[in-house]
Chain length 347, copies 2
């Protein structure tokens, strides 16, 4: 690595970052004084403080957080380990966590395990050996997952997918409540002949959302049209084929609740093509508030937002409390939020 006269390496970046010692030398004081001056400790003459600050500025000094961490035992870093390849769930969770930690001291770093156990172990290892203060594990489905165990050197919060071990802390989206919200909204919009098209039955999220809807229908004394929840896949094509079967069987439905926005998009398309108008004849709801899909639907799709930022926020709060020594084990559930767009406007 050729070093030029002014200390710039051939890569175009400046050589070794300045240290406290460099600042001390330039300011003509001791390292200890620089540390105190820069950290706002008392017992430093105002004049000295200014001199030090100027020197630090001039050298572009950034304290080495790693060295600080060696002393304090904290690194101000939290690892977010995800398996969510498209980032649809983990990025909002990460944002919420960042917000909760505040722009201040704690940074959240994301690693992607791509749903691969080996990779998860590798990232876990990398994160722990970099001494993160805590971990947030974000699943790619809401299915409960294996615990990482109780013997990690830092606290762990599971988000979106809860841990199977109830001694762990988990934060999940309230899918049952979401199903209930959807039905309540349909009823408020004057619907009473409601069907439910769910996603893949293998997914707890699919079953929970449907279950909430069925519960609410029951409370309202309303029938579930088609007699049962229709389970299939999280795809538009499942939405299309299932709703065609549905209107064959029950031509008089006036509302369809879907397990996801993708399914709802398929439902909307198939309804339009079979000559039913939405929302006049049939109201349709999705789940996820995947803006890209929901706002561009015809008509724009009413849906349920999982408040993933709040999931992230809560995860961060739990983690922070645990780092401070107060863990709150168990599953913490975050309420969803209904977003009414045109697809469920009063008929």
């Amino acid at each position: 690595m050729a070093e030029t006269a002014n200390g710039v390496v051939s890569g175009g970046f400046s050589a070794k970052p300045a240290t406290l010692r460099d600042v001390a030398a330039l300011a003509g004081v001791s390292v200890a004084t620089v540390s105190k001056a820069l950290n706002g400790r008392e017992h430093v003459r105002a004049e000295t403080r200014v001199k030090v600050q100027q020197a630090a500025e001039k050298l572009n000094f950034l304290p080495n957080v790693l060295a600080q961490g060696l002393l304090s035992g904290r690194t101000g870093t939290v690892g977010l380990l995800t398996s969510d390849l498209v980032g649809r769930f983990s990025l909002p969770v990460m944002m919420g966590a960042e917000d909760a930690f505040g722009a201040g001291s704690t940074s959240v770093f994301l690693c992607d395990a791509r749903g691969d156990g080996i990779r998860e172990q590798h990232h876990l290892h990398a994160l722990l050996s970099r001494r993160v203060d805590g971990l947030i594990i974000v699943g790619d489905t809401t299915n409960p997952r294996e615990s990482l165990g109780q013997h990690l050197p830092v606290p762990v919060v599971y988000a979106y997918a809860p841990s199977l071990d109830e001694r762990d802390m988990s934060v999940v989206s309230d899918n049952v409540g979401a199903g209930r919200q959807a039905v309540e909204h349909m009823v408020r919009s004057g619907r009473s002949r409601i069907a439910y098209i769910a996603g893949d039955k293998e997914f707890l999220a699919a079953r929970d959302r449907a279950e909430g809807a069925v519960q609410a229908l029951h409370q309202f004394g309303l029938p579930l049209m088609g007699d049962e929840v229709m389970y299939g896949a999280w795809t538009e094509s499942w939405g299309r084929s299932s709703v065609r079967a549905l209107i064959d069987k029950c031509p008089d439905i006036d509302a369809v609740i879907c397990g996801s926005d993708q399914i709802a998009r398929g439902v909307l398309d198939a309804l339009r093509e079979s000559g039913r108008t939405v929302p006049d004849e049939v109201a349709v709801m999705g789940h996820d508030n995947w803006e890209l899909l929901a706002t561009q639907a015809r008509p724009p799709l009413s849906t349920i937002d999982m408040n993933l930022e709040l999931v992230g926020r809560k995860a961060a709060q739990l983690l922070f409390a645990a780092i401070e020594g107060t863990a709150e084990p168990g599953i913490h559930s975050i309420s969803t939020r209904l977003l009414a767009r045109d697809s469920t406007a009063r008929g």
Copy 2:
């Protein structure tokens, strides 16, 4: 923080992680010997090595990479700073970078600046003070962006959105080439009356892709149907409205190339609703290979994959070389890859 007899803190996680000293004490040797034994250095008796390894295992010892970094000046960490809220571009880039660095030594940590300059500075600061060995900056559009400057203490690679400063290293997707690929594919599939529906003209990506297509049409001696590139928005609704205008004006088109998969979805829908069959009468192409949209389209959408993993790979390689002292400034372009699905099958 109440500590129990077995050294477990009330948070449910084990107390302070074991240090080299703990291992040394347990193994009955010196700290230096432990270090050598664990790092595979020579001059350690096999017997001693085993003893040390067992002690380390027993204590769940993980070396503190931060302390190691203090010595070596390297942390084995690279920061990936993005502004891509949905992660659509940055996650594939991150995966590519991880692959290039290898499962081995270097970890990639992602931070999201949410397109906010203040937040970007904050994350930059956090990353640098944690002494990352390098930075990858991923833009949310292909529009060139401000350089972070030449005075950072570590090398920087800009990915997806290039830096405006040619002294920087940038890796971009070849959008002009993508436009050309699309036309060549259409021609190979027997089309000759080709129109182009682009995204938002404010975006360089929109203009580049269109330009490549126009160039290729010219080379083939073919006209651009509708006489000019139709610029609009990156939405399905723009796809729908634009293609309706297009077939009014030019009823005899046999192919439409779109600036994105979203636009192409709108085009497909509007064509179907106006009674044109795809691909028999009109072929349609998208751009992005956004699986969710492309595979669920009717018919499945031919599109262009930007090979973002390769973008990430290249960025990592450039960064690695720069860390070693060999920077290759300038813009490095990654070729796209055409994915033929049914929407462009030979008519």
